[in-house]
């Protein structure tokens, strides 16, 4: 893998997803613009994080990439194959490549099945293994995620949240996927348990070369685990950058507000962190603002922002959707992480 440009395992090309909403029998049909032209790619063994607030479309994006939802327009390419219109049978085979770990391990495990059955089911569906061989494989998988073989005959209610999330990870690993989609995998867990699960995911990635697509709103976590970060606002990507670059600064005014709003667990850095507080709420995705979608809340707004929608363009080694990013008179804002760094350098 080293030296060679890494292979793309999953690609979204200009994905659009609109949901129709009805207000009355004769009212004109309106649409929730959940995704509007999302393009991104995921390389083998990398971690790409999609961040944004509720309603920005990040969960819809996950569903479209898994083909749990049919995109309105655009294409999804998995391991070089277009799966946008793939039928059920093809999808079942392709889903071996892409697995998912959900947010709430209390809801994602069937309470009436034993852990052995929960982890063994994907193997049963995808691989012709005899029962003893399957049990052996389940036991190995549980060991991989740090659970002993005694867990096989237990049920979800006997497990703590952290242990349940480990089971969910073992289930995702069962079919040797190339990609695991992690939808807020630790936000339902306690702080000390979060670190355990994140470390487990990182170790697995090093060992097995799995690519992760992280869907999250936890910005501190994102800067720790991701290689690249895509920031979404109202169904669009507004900034796509290397995680390392975002530690120093972010360019889009929305990313700046988002990253500066994340609380920092360090009283001194918190005092240095200049917080940009956005006014108002996220506009309705049924009727997104004209021009730049962020213009209603942006403090740098000019006339052109209302008149014309900016394209996602390359600025300083990243992609930013803003008319002014990178131009003079528009300072890149340091993030909370930068405030922590500054404290370490100071004498």
């Amino acid at each position: 893998m080293t030296g060679m440009p890494a292979e793309t395992v999953l690609e979204a090309i200009d994905l659009v997803k609109h949901y129709p909403v009805k207000h009355g029998l004769f009212a004109p049909a309106r649409h929730v613009h959940a995704l509007d032209g999302i393009s991104l790619d995921l390389k083998r063994g990398e971690t790409l994080a999609v961040v944004g607030e509720s309603g920005c479309g990040k969960s819809t994006l996950a569903k479209c990439l898994m083909r749990l939802e049919e995109p309105t327009r655009g294409r999804v390419v998995l391991m070089g194959r277009d799966i946008t219109r793939a039928d059920k049978r093809t999808l079942r085979v392709l889903r071996r490549q892409i697995q998912i770990v959900f947010q709430d391990p209390y809801a994602s495990l069937n309470p009436r099945r034993s852990i052995g059955t929960i982890v063994g089911d994907p193997i049963r569906l995808h691989e012709p293994l005899e029962r003893p061989a399957r049990r052996r494989k389940v036991s190995e998988l549980l060991e991989t995620v740090g659970l002993g073989p005694e867990f096989m005959d237990r049920h979800p209610h006997e497990l703590s949240g952290g242990q349940r999330q480990r089971v969910a990870i073992a289930r995702a690993l069962a079919v040797n996927p190339s990609i695991i989609l992690c939808d807020e995998p630790v936000s339902a867990l306690d702080v000390s348990i979060q670190a355990q699960v994140i470390n487990l995911l990182k170790r697995l990635q090093r060992k097995l070369g799995i690519a992760y697509l992280f869907i999250t709103h936890d910005l501190a976590l994102v800067q720790h685990i991701a290689d690249r970060i895509a920031v979404m606002y109202l169904g669009e990507i507004v900034e796509l950058a290397d995680a390392r670059a975002t530690r120093a600064s972010v360019l889009h005014p929305y990313s700046q507000a988002l990253f500066s709003a994340a609380p920092v667990a360090d009283p001194e850095a918190a005092a240095r962190n200049t917080r940009i507080i956005l006014s108002g709420d996220v506009p309705s995705p049924v009727d997104p603002p004209c021009g730049c979608r962020f213009h209603t809340r942006c403090s740098y707004r000019k006339d052109v922002c209302v008149a014309e929608a900016p394209a996602l363009g390359a600025v300083a080694g990243r992609l930013v959707r803003c008319h002014f990013a990178g131009k003079s008179g528009f300072p890149p804002a340091p993030t909370a992480a930068a405030a922590v760094e500054a404290g370490k350098e100071a004498p």
């Binding site: 607030e53 702080v191 000390s192 720790h224 920092v264 667990a265 992480a337």
Partner: protein, 325 residues
């Protein structure tokens, strides 16, 4: 600084079919006027039980306050007659909860929910209530307050609902605000708005705040003093600056390390092994011992009591008390 709230040796037990759970065990702390005190801990540490006990809202049965006193303005909340406690709740001590959708009544308008507090506690007339509700909504930064007052909770976004709940809590200018995970259900930018709002209102009205949270970032940014709880007991208490710079209890150290995401790019985080013990199966000795990196043989036999290792620095840990970490 005189204390607004003084909790002494508070113990709360819950009787369940599996046995008695000591949710809070001999907890003592005080909150001064205008001070923000944060209680930090994982689920099951008893932090929310403390909040409920301070308003005498522990459901009995199965719960029971089995010992201690909660002094608010010199009166013991736990022995006040029912009529007197009702005059305290919502008027002098107010509370905001984690999930504003659960805490607001879906069939009442915003005006009626906030107005109820004003009518009951302050005896305002209908016209005065309407004017005051609009004023309160303006205070918490709700745009177009006259229109919003006539709407129902489902018409509002999460951040707006949380503002309505804060407006309700502040309606009678309480001396103490208890905030139990006030922003956990909110997005980060909205969280920043709400925390900034609580902070500025606190300064304006001179309230004391008891903040219950598991988010160390929020603690670092808003609290003056921090109480760390583990399995129902206070294990460490200190000023926010010192607890982040120089934590003494191994659990506090572990919690802080586990949240140092910004500083450990690429590398693995330092984790606390294991999980919080089951309340039905508490380990003998120190309840943190099975997960502790610094455990001594003594820790498995005896539970350490809180002891000041320096002035104003109580820590419940044998190792820290012997100054070995």
């Amino acid at each position: 600084m005189s204390a607004v709230l003084h909790v002494e040796d508070l113990s709360v037990h819950f009787r369940t079919t599996l046995g008695v759970v000591k949710a809070v065990d001999k907890l003592s702390f005080a909150i001064g006027e205008g001070e923000t005190v944060a209680i930090v801990g994982e689920s099951g540490s008893g932090k929310s039980t403390v909040a409920l006990a301070a308003l005498r809202l522990i459901p009995d049965p199965p719960g029971k306050v089995s010992g201690g006193r909660i002094l608010f303005d010199g009166q013991d909340i736990l022995t006040l007659p029912d009529a007197a406690i009702r005059a305290v709740r919502g008027r002098r001590i107010a509370m905001i909860f984690q999930d504003p959708m659960m805490a607001l009544n879906p069939v009442y308008t915003v005006e009626r929910q906030i107005g109820e507090v004003l009518r009951l506690h302050l005896g305002l007339s209908k016209r005065e209530v309407i004017a005051e509700v609009v004023e309160l909504l303006r205070l918490v930064g709700v745009p177009a307050p006259e229109d919003r007052a006539r709407q129902y909770p489902h018409n509002l976004s999460g951040g707006m609902r949380q503002r309505v709940m804060i407006a309700m809590a502040l309606a009678c200018r309480p001396k103490l605000l208890i905030a139990d995970e006030p922003t956990t259900a909110l997005d980060v930018t909205v969280q920043a708005q709400v925390l900034g709002l609580i902070q500025s209102l606190k300064d304006k009205l001179g309230m004391a705040v008891l903040l219950i949270t598991h988010n160390l970032g929020i603690v670092a940014e808003t609290a003056h003093r921090v109480i760390v709880m583990y399995a129902g007991r206070k294990v460490e208490e200190d000023s926010v600056a010192r607890i982040f710079k120089d934590p003494r209890h191994p659990y506090t150290q572990g919690l802080l390390d586990a949240a140092k995401w910004e500083e450990t790019e690429g590398a693995l985080l330092r984790e606390i092994p294991g999980a919080v013990p089951s309340p039905f199966d508490m380990p003998k000795g120190c309840s943190f011992a099975p997960r502790c990196f610094a455990m001594l043989p003594l820790c498995r036999q005896e539970a350490p009591a809180l002891q000041e290792i320096a002035p104003q620095r109580p820590v419940a840990c044998f190792v820290a008390q012997k100054r070995q970490i």
